[in-house]
Amino acid sequence: MADMFKRVPVREQEAKVRATNFDEVCYGYNKEEAMEEASRCLNCKNAKCIQGCPVSINIPGFISRIKDGDIEGAYQVIGESSALPAICGRVCPQESQCECKCVRGIKGEPVSIGKLERFVADYALEHDIKPLKAEKMNGHKVAVIGSGPSGLTCAGDLAKLGYEVTVFEALHELGGVLVYGIPEFRLPKEKVVKKEIEKVKELGVKFETNVVIGKSTTIDQLMEEEGFEAVFIGSGAGLPMFMGIPGETANGVFSANEYLTRSNLMKAFDDSYDTPIAAGKKVAVVGGGNVAMDAARTALRLGAEVHVVYRRSEAELPARVEEVHHAKEEGVIFNLLTNPKEILVDENGWVKGMRVIKMELGEPDASGRRRPIEIPGSEYEIEVDTVIMSLGTSPNPLIASTTEGLETNRRKCIVAEEENGQTSKACVFAGGDAVTGAATVILAMGAGKAGAKGIHELLSQK
């Protein structure tokens, strides 16, 4: 019998071992463990957990099927709301979404909803359980720009409704941040991402890679020349920011996007692939978000001593608690309340160190977080050979600048209605990071769903 106050623990790779490989850290539940954890769910009538989920998965519904041992049934329940459960079960910040609303969490630990979702999805991938397809096509053609979480979700939802959907992707692989950003040790590419995208293909969605919208063709041309009646833009926020401090163009300074793209998408960590990576011996990662944790843990696995340099304190770290915990366990060192002033460069143009300054926290700023202030005279130098800038990203202006009548705001984000993704341009919808700026996978999926709903409302009236 399960302890009703405590979660069934999930098996993980040991910290010392996993710090040297790229295999997945968390092993997930087996069927026995999943059924035991599922038995902790109270099957609330007015389930708060559903409200915490941005795509409103019927959580007690799928968990009660796990309790009965009907895993295929549980998969179909999740499938009504989410096209990418194996991914969301792994990368959603459940502690601030579904799980933080769980009634079990009041007196003990909440039900491990994410790990249960992951178990069901992995079971479906292993046992090749097919998602339910549209019964017949409705004859309408829709283009989706970008194959990240929002685009895949929008495409999957529309395909289930019978639309003929084509997804256009600029890179050579599908998945957006799921393939180039989130590392293998958190989200396996062959085992999970590729197979999950195969499921979207099974729904009838077509994919075209190596198409850069705004360059290879434009949204106006897709509608005028190729017969697409509506377009969903899910192009994300992929443009890296730099600090603008001296030395930032030195050899050995990378954006986290470059470092992670080399490692994740191009598999530079594997010698049998052609793309190189300058791994570094002593690495400073500047920033404190999930991307910073991913970059730090990647550099660690490539053999470096890694320091996370962050200008606020631990309480303000924007990264998921679980990720910070994992990073610490693996040996990442945190230099908090510290901010770079200059990158020091040797005579050959390589990084040799960083001049940093100590910070203290002042009054809360507009974001509600206490503002970091430099402590005068506290500057000192640290010796590093590699610096990874992880300061956030902004949307690529390429699509907005080549689409007539598409409105953007001052942060270069596309302006779109939250409930249906409608933009300022007729028949063009948008969602995910392209609209909100860098956010989470599940919010992007929620926006993809809203976009699909908006497009369906528009085209089903035609």
């Binding site: 600029a170 063709t217 163009t249 080399r262 190189p276 050959n348």
Partner: protein, 295 residues
């Protein structure tokens, strides 16, 4: 997959290919580039578009073998395919958007060096098609290394080949040819220089002295080529630019060439290792004092 329609060796280590890529061919303009990836394990390599045929849906690329990836490209034959071929990327040459009548008033000089004469070609050809005759200087180490001569002669106003060893045309560097033309009374309103960074640097030092505005096409290390990583960043004046989206063409008098050259060296050792591994195949077991074998 992107099929190779034609594969031809132009000179020692220099190859030309026509590749089927209809979306690229439909939208590309002179000055833009593509990113090419051979196979599953390949890396993404930027190559400038040398020519295009919108009707046939093909793009012409010209490349020099400098490392493991380009060696693998060179081994491909007609009928083979690239797994990935993305583009067109970067901004088109500014000439394309200028007023044709005012362009006709201008005297333009192109300077190409080595394999850099390939990206010069589509610009000169475009100008010719719009009734503008530009002068073209092409430099190579020796006569056999000069490429696309007939094509270039057919589209340029005056064509000045140069060889470092004096085996053909003007004897000496492209910079001495520029000086000779200007000293001989030629006046140029614009210079476009494309080639190795060191060549573009010296052309720019000279044209600055001569007061000729100069555009260069930068060729830094790239990964995605769409602006999402900043691997290709460089200083232009006080600003940091991404060559893949802000360029590849920039005001040559503002580019920090020394920094660009240092950044190109970033992966030199790793590139050397990859090439050795490819050339020596199974016989490669380390011991060169540099690579440590395959461990």
């Amino acid at each position: 997959m992107y099929k190779i329609r034609k594969a031809e060796k132009l000179a020692d280590k220099i190859y030309l290919m026509d590749v089927e890529a209809p979306r690229v061919a439909k939208h590309c303009e002179p000055g833009q580039f593509v990113i090419v990836k051979l196979d599953e394990k390949g890396e993404r390599i930027p190559l400038t578009i040398c020519d295009y045929d919108r009707k046939e849906g093909t793009i012409t690329i010209v490349f020099q073998t400098v490392g493991a990836s380009t060696e693998k490209f060179a081994a491909l034959k007609e009928g083979d395919s690239f797994q990935d071929f993305t583009g067109p990327l970067g901004r088109p040459s500014e000439l394309v958007n200028e007023d044709i009548e005012s362009l006709k008033q201008k005297k333009i000089l192109f300077v190409g060096g080595g394999v850099g004469s390939a990206p010069v070609y589509p610009q000169v050809k475009w100008l010719k098609e719009h009734g503008v005759d530009a002068d073209v200087i092409i430099g190579a180490k020796t006569k056999d290394m000069l490429i696309l001569e007939d094509e270039m002669k057919a589209v340029s106003g005056n064509y000045y080949p140069c060889t470092d060893d004096g085996t053909y045309g003007h004897a000496g560097m492209v910079t001495s040819m520029v000086e000779e033309l200007v000293n001989g009374g030629q006046k140029y309103d614009l210079c476009v220089a494309i080639g190795p960074v060191i060549m573009m640097k010296f052309v720019c030092l000279l044209t600055k002295k001569l007061g000729i505005p100069t555009v260069v096409s930068m060729n830094p290390i790239m990964v995605d080529g769409t602006g999402m990583c900043g691997a290709c960043r460089l200083h232009v004046g006080d600003e940091i630019k991404f060559a893949c989206v802000d360029g590849p063409e920039f005001d040559g008098h503002l580019v920090n060439f020394d920094e660009a050259m240092k950044r190109q060296q970033m992966y030199k050792t790793q590139e050397g290792r990859a090439l050795l591994k490819l050339q020596e195949g199974d016989t490669h077991h380390g011991g060169c004092g540099n690579c440590g074998g395959d461990e």
